[in-house]
């Protein structure tokens, strides 16, 4: 957290974010800043920055991560993989981080039966690539453009073509800006693709408000579309509440309650106010509104149990458990009472390390937290 003096003096918001500004630019900015009108505006900006710094706010999460704790941690949806699945994971080195993973899957109708993935990461770069048996690649490239600003490319390439998403995250002292472009192309006389921004601003130490805007044109023959989403998040030590409304009229409300160190409960409601999304998916208007209640229980031996039920009488559970030193098992099931269908999934994860990694791990057990930082990689995410 920067002091008021730092913001007022030579340090601009850009420098707080860790961006390097060349001297030439600095000098020309200085000259511009002394012009009468500009100096007046800058004075105002200074005053606002001063007030903002005085609140002592911290950098908020990204707008799209407002409901992350509910959707990615408590609900079973993210963890349930139908069919049989086995992952073999081999960690060859911790610094730089080097991992290979091979996955075998059958009977889920979605994932491919075999995939090979590799991860290589240092403190500045993170590379992840996975090639599957249908010769499709998903690649994830993350790099630090400065100590704070993170750039990201996510690409999926198969015989049908390549989709790529480019992202930049710019954290400020009390706000977070994320810019994104998906499949940008200038070849067809007009710009096609999708570009969006999202911005989150801390209002108090607990309340964060966010806005996101999308502009897209899929093909030069069609008109461009634009839309805005707005949302908010209130997080305290005991609970996290978040809500957002999108331009398509979808209202999402999420609530997470921490009952205990080990027990968390969550309720998530999605309401399609216009009913358009359900109509387009060919579903009945009843499914325009869904409420899901879920509980996550962490067991003493690193096992986790997630239970879930939604307003369409869909029941689900996922259990994760360490069976042996190197093996983790995931069992999950989903029962849809209304459609009378059932999905069941069993996953096994085998973990192994090279001798050097084992030696480092053993050494790290006797170290303080500060010392272990020297031995582990903290890649940009």
């Amino acid at each position: 957290m920067a002091t008021i003096e730092e913001i007022r003096s030579e340090k601009s918001q850009l420098e707080l974010a860790g961006l390097k500004v060349p001297d030439v630019v600095k000098q020309s900015l200085k000259a511009t800043a002394q012009a009468p009108v500009v100096s007046h505006v800058l004075g105002l900006f200074d005053a606002v920055s001063k007030r903002r710094a005085a609140f002592g706010l911290s950098t908020p999460p990204k707008f799209e991560d407002f409901s992350r704790e509910v959707e990615k941690e408590v609900l079973t949806t993210y963890y349930l993989v139908p069919g049989l699945r086995a992952d073999v994971n081999y960690t060859s080195s911790v610094k730089p981080m080097f991992n290979v993973m091979q996955s075998f899957a059958v009977g889920n109708g979605r994932d491919n039966s075999y995939s090979f993935a590799g991860i290589y990461a240092t403190n500045n770069v993170f590379l992840r690539g996975s090639l599957d048996s249908e010769r499709a690649l998903s690649a994830h490239i993350v790099g630090r453009l400065s100590p704070a600003v993170v750039g990201r490319i996510q690409a999926h390439s198969s015989e049908r073509g390549t989709q790529a998403v480019y992202e930049v995250d710019v954290p400020f002292a009390d706000s977070m800006l994320c810019l994104r472009a998906a499949n940008p192309s200038l070849l067809d006389t007009k710009f096609t693709g999708m570009s969006s921004f999202n911005f989150a601003q801390s209002i108090t130490s607990k309340l964060v408000l966010g806005v996101s805007g999308v502009w897209q044109r899929q093909s030069p023959d069609y008109p461009a579309q634009a839309g805005f989403d707005v949302g908010g998040r209130y997080a305290s030590d005991k609970f996290v509440a978040s809500g957002s409304i999108s331009a398509q009229g979808i209202l999402g409300l999420n609530y997470l309650q921490k009952f205990d160190e080990r027990i968390q409960g969550a309720v998530s409601t999605n309401i399609d106010l216009t009913g358009m999304a359900a109509a387009m998916a060919g579903e009945s208007p009843d499914s325009a509104c869904t409420t899901t209640a879920a509980v996550k229980i962490d067991g003493p031996d690193q096992s986790t149990l997630r239970l879930q039920m939604d307003s369409h009488w869909k029941l689900g559970f996922v259990m994760e458990r360490i069976v042996a030193d190197t093996m983790r098992m995931t069992i999950g099931s989903e029962l849809d009472q209304a459609k009378n269908t059932c999905k069941i999934g069993l996953g096994l994860q085998f973990e192994s390390q090279s001798e050097s990694v084992e030696a480092v791990m053993r050494e790290m057990q006797t170290m303080s937290q500060e010392e272990t930082k020297k031995y582990i990689t903290v890649p940009p995410q």
Partner: protein, 58 residues
């Protein structure tokens, strides 16, 4: 914002794009393996990296 490219140069760009796409698709994972293999010490044996049976043995 209009970019007027001749048909020929457009074709050339698309061809280059196609080739680079294939190179990226099949080259990215080997690149990661090579980076990891060359940057870590001691260098892991390739058979442990590529064979699932050798991976589980510790």
């Amino acid at each position: 914002m209009a970019f007027h490219l001749s048909e020929e140069s457009k074709e050339r760009i698309l061809k280059f794009y196609d080739i680079s796409q294939v190179a990226f698709r099949f080259g990215f994972v080997p690149l990661i393996i090579f980076l990891g293999w060359s940057q870590t010490y001691p260098r892991p044996s390739l058979i442990r990296l590529l064979s699932p049976l050798a991976m589980t043995r510790s």
